[in-house]
Symmetry: C2
Subunit: 713 residues, 2 copies
């Protein structure tokens, strides 16, 4: 673990007592409807939605009023009124807006806003109150991508790509164009990429015709019907992705000449500033060899392989390269090659100019640049692996300086010049704070300091701390939650809430250490709630993460058992009443813990679990597990069916019938194995729901989980 860490966060590991102002008997009781998103009386933390920049002025939309706030003076003025905008829209037969939250301000030098409605885009001059432009849109259009430079509009209808009303592709049903590909792995979130000047559109095309179809049954039709999804399972045939370039002027499409796309990943698309080249990071199916490639957009030819990375376990490119705004020949490349995600400066010849950041912490994102000072603004874990803080990095000498405080978890939105930032953050004691920061002066203006929405409610006490991982060396963070009326002479049942998989962390220095509503609910009912971020989880670097390689869940369970040892060492824990609950990867962990340690866990509730990695999808699954063909022993070791006979405690598995992330086959084959092994799991499903139960039924889910622990723990 990192050595030079700022010690400040250690202070936060102390217990924080809440709700001390009111006598206990006067405190209200929190219900699941208060605590679970989707609940009818869910206690939201106050927020300012869609606060953003118009050049270097802060825009604060509201329902009836659009405000502009000077980041220098803090002066707040009315920019526009909804009554006025709607008068103009209705006069032009363009409908109405219900609020200002769907407005954006992509033109720094114009008094214009872009209004996004379900059936149209409207460019509106908020000074003259005139419609600049109105672009109608098919309501069934998806993946809309409006080019603010020239007003070109890309979108998809069903599986095909359209630009300005013209079909760019004419593919059969199972060839998807203009959508995110590779199951949104490798940082991919979208399928269209306008060039910097808006002249060309790069887009993904994914041929899924060779991918096996998984049947999800819809019981809400008159007679049940199948919704098929193309779901490529580990070791099976994968889809084929290519990248097209469309010219809206000539209406020509050119596909990059990548050769046979079989078993290759095309990730992290970015344009050269001059629009002549497209950069991709290509990856082999084994995910252990990446290449930053430059293609000529005129010919589609590969022009150069600029950077290659190999790793005996895996490489995982997650960020497109970013060009320096002041030098078209230099770009920033992100890599985990030294063990932590850091920034590297390259030139377009592929020459490494320097490693910009370094240390046992990682860069989480590049927010942008201060062009004047030639600084890069980033979010990083530099202050603590439980935090995200904002820093400016002087490119010249790598000097790194904090922006905003060094507490909590920050997300920043940079102004056009890069000299101002909207800094939104939360700390263990502060639900939400929004500041406008003048970066040069490190001076901030507060826009919001949200009140504690649990004020006057009875609340548990929350502690965090570290214990050693199963390797005896690594520090792992835990969160321990105690009932409000905690009595250290009593013994309490404990429930471990676990996730445990990569790309996620359960404990953050956010409000109440990022506790889940259900944990509060259960602590109020008299349970000790415990969560530990084991090795394999996020924000701790590659070595911490990839110890799980080729046998996902095994090292993670060992670490969780260290958590159990810790719990058992506490005098107020009833070691005969330990429960465990988790969803998805955490569902796998829940079952794995119960089967590998049947005498420890009395009750478990697993949601949407992976039970056998061969039923999980290729992109995520093979990164960590390779294929069933090349890693049979790893698949065998982690196949929970092979451990089914160990089941002893009460295990409820909840798996939804439309789970297209972790298909129902996981649970049904596991249940079958349990029946064959003469053990007795329980089962439930939320018909129609996908991987997670969302909406109001999420309250039902948590009542269901609660009852199971109450019945059996």
């Amino acid at each position: 673990m990192k050595k030079n860490r700022n010690f400040k966060h250690l202070l936060l590991l102390l217990m924080i007592p809440f709700a001390i102002n009111v006598m206990a008997q006067d405190l209200k009781k929190l219900t699941l409807e208060n605590l679970i998103p989707g609940g009818e009386t869910y206690l939201f933390t106050k927020n300012l939605y869609n606060t953003q920049w118009w050049n270097d002025e802060c825009i604060r939309p509201d329902i009836d009023t659009l405000y502009v706030i000077s980041p220098i003076s803090g002066k707040k003025q009315i920019l526009s009124l909804r009554t006025e905008v709607n008068r103009v829209l209705e006069k032009n037969k363009l409908g109405k807006i219900q609020h200002f939250y769907n407005t954006s301000f992509p033109w720094p030098d114009k008094s214009q806003m872009l209004i996004t409605l379900p059936d149209k885009y409207i460019v509106y001059n908020f000074k003259t109150n005139q419609i600049v432009k109105s672009v109608p849109l098919d309501t069934i259009a998806q993946n809309k991508d409006y080019c603010t430079i020239n007003g070109n509009l890309a979108y998809t209808i069903k599986n095909n790509l359209y630009v300005n009303g013209t079909a760019v592709t004419h593919e059969p049903e199972d060839v998807l164009c203009g959508q995110a590909v590779h199951r949104n792995e490798f940082g991919i979130t979208k399928g269209t990429f306008w060039s910097p000047k808006g002249d060309l559109l790069a887009f993904y095309r994914m041929d899924e015709r060779m991918v096996a179809q998984y049947p999800l049954v819809d019981v809400t039709t008159r007679e049940a019907q199948v919704n098929y999804i193309r779901y490529p399972m580990a070791g099976m045939t994968s889809h084929k992705v290519t990248v097209g370039i469309y010219n809206p002027l000539t209406k020509d499409t050119l596909y990059l000449k990548v050769g046979d796309p079989t078993n290759r990943y095309f990730t992290n698309i970015s344009w050269s500033p001059n629009e002549k080249s497209l950069y991709l990071i290509e990856l082999n199916r084994d995910q252990n060899h990446s290449k930053l490639c430059r293609y000529d957009v005129k010919t589609g030819e590969l022009k150069a392989v600029l950077i290659e990375e190999k790793n005996s376990k895996y490489v995982e490119p997650l960020n497109p390269i970013v060009f320096l705004p002041w030098d078209e020949n230099k770009f920033i490349y992100q890599s985990q090659q030294d063990g932590f995600n850091h920034l590297y400066l390259y030139n377009t010849e592929g020459k490494l100019l320097k490693q910009i950041t370094k240390g046992n912490w990682l860069v989480q994102s590049i927010l942008g640049f201060n062009k004047k000072n030639k600084e890069i603004i980033i979010e990083s874990t530099k202050d603590s692996p439980l935090q995200s803080n904002i820093f400016s990095i002087r490119l010249k000498d790598g000097n790194i300086a904090p922006i905003g405080n060094n507490e909590g978890v920050h997300t920043g939105i940079l102004s056009t010049s890069g000299q101002f930032i909207i800094d939104k953050y939360s700390t263990p004691t502060l639900p939400r704070n929004i500041d406008l920061i003048n970066i040069a002066k490190r001076k901030s203006i507060n826009l919001l300091k949200a009140e504690n929405s649990y004020e006057n409610y009875r609340m548990p006490a929350i502690e965090t701390g570290t214990i050693k991982a199963a390797d005896g060396v690594t520090d792992l963070y835990y969160r321990l939650v105690k009932p409000a009326d905690f009595d250290s002479t009593k013994r309490y049942p404990v429930i471990i809430y676990v996730y445990g998989g990569p790309h996620a962390q359960m404990i953050h220095n956010k409000y109440l250490y990022d506790i889940r509503g259900w944990d509060i609910y259960m602590a109020n009912k008299g349970y000790i709630m415990f969560t530990l971020d084991n090795r394999g989880s996020e924000n701790r670097g590659m070595k911490f993460e990839n110890v799980t390689f080729r046998h996902l869940g095994v090292e993670e369970c060992k670490d969780q058992m260290k958590g159990v040892d810790f719990l058992k060492s506490l005098p107020y824990i009833d070691a005969n009443r330990i429960g465990v609950h988790g969803w998805s990867f955490g569902g796998h962990m829940t079952i794995a813990l119960m089967l590998r340690h049947p005498d420890i866990f009395k009750v478990g509730v697993a949601g949407g679990p992976v039970t056998d990695w061969k039923y999980y999808e290729i992109m995520y699954g093979e990164r960590y597990m390779d294929t069933p063909q090349t890693n049979p022993e790893g698949y065998k070791e982690t196949d929970l069916k092979n451990l089914a006979e160990n089941l002893k405690g009460h295990l409820l598995i909840i798996h939804n019938d439309h789970d297209d992330t972790c298909v129902p086959q996981h649970t049904l084959t596991f249940v079958k194995a349990c029946i064959e092994a003469n053990v007795f799991p329980d089962l439930f499903t939320y018909p129609g729901h996908k991987h997670n139960v969302i909406g109001h039924e999420r309250v039902h889910l948590h009542e269901k989980i609660t009852r199971y622990f109450e019945d059996f723990l």
Copy 2:
């Protein structure tokens, strides 16, 4: 209810104490493996399998020896030895037999037996030990129908019909030929019908292409796949059935000219003795108008409608007509038109000659004829609605005389002449008895008196009796089971096991009153087990059955609540601990009882339930419910989703993912309604199983059910 009933069965309603010879502490405990079919140590009652007739000699097959027993003298001789048969078979390269149970003796005048092997039929002369004939057969052939008169062999491969290696039909996948149709309703059990002399083959053809497909998901393949079944739901489009006549000599096929088969049922096929006519009972989709029709097999023309029946509720033809062996112009027609199933004699002009049987009891089957005495041999409930007894009826005057004793439940196999019968029966105190009866002399020879397989096991006490139905008039039979160590001063929890639907009866005067193994198991655990055959169930006549018309489950629940009232009147019942369990129709009843009487039932386990009759199939469902279009109020009243919000107790629903009788949509839509109503059922599934859990996993199922009651009742 019937008035002139024999009072004998009332004696049987007294409590029968078991296991009185051994001290209680020495008695062994019955396990589910002992009690559930499929269990590893299942306690079978001894049987003589495939005992049958060769002319008027009784054949008793065994593994190594084939015996022949004279029904007159009782003398038992060896007819054949397996070693000898196998020597001959192997010499002829025809394989081996493992036992004599797959032999039959259809040639009264020849020393021949028919040996049925998976890949061939062998006609074997057991006197000369010679192969008479060997007919090879495709191992994938199904629905085999060997004509013993001329050796013609009909069978199906996939959906098409074959005779003697020639494809009779060449239909696309969803047109089925030579198989049972109409989902085996209307007494239909097969799809091929050889004419009396074997010259022609009548067969069913069912076009299912217009029927909606229900998807059942198989999770045992590499990636889950769908097994589609054609499942016509109430009110939806049904299949179309026609009847073909195939001539093996000319290889011609003629289809009966029935006109448009849409929404018509073609049932109960029978041949005229002269092979010139085919008789069918045709029924309209509304199932309230049947017609006995005669078709000319040469032309396919309808020649006559001989008998018509109409009923404001429904008519349900279940038996083909049977010609008198001594008069080709007269046949027996079975009808429930006077309220009970009885025999009627008609001539081929369609003239009613007489009603042969009459009374408040019903004919269950015609076993055959004593040609010499012109008697019809039947099974009937004449002695008790809980019994089947065998009677001979003199056609001349209707004189009815018992064959065998008037206790228990008998099944008979008549010899060729009709003068002898194999009488297999069970009584409440006798697990199984097999006699050979010389009918004329009413003299019997005992072949088997099976021992009580529960000897030396600890057993509960079983009582039966009657209570009044909710109509205040009708007697309903119940079975009450008490733990062996019953103490009348204590209070016991009770579990009601319920079926409740038509065509089934739970209480019979069979061994231990037909108690289920699980009932014994639970009684041994200290539960009172109770079952009541409500109105709507079998063997009590039409009025008793059809009171449920257009709102299945409603009257049935009212009767079951009379059972609850009765239970509550017993001082040793704990009225706060009443549970209910049932499968299929009984699954519907279980849920319906819990929702209509939420304060009565603490725990329920429903298996494979109907929750909404619109998801059930047309043939069965519309008979009792009409269609959702014509009976919306009845469908609404019985749709358990509309009552979901009443759920209060613990309800476990078990529904298998390959249930093609009662599709999983029933349970999944009900669970969805429960979630929406914020109530909390539990759920389980046996992956790969159909409507019932069979094989060894049936033990797991009953352990699962047991645990649920133990956890919550």
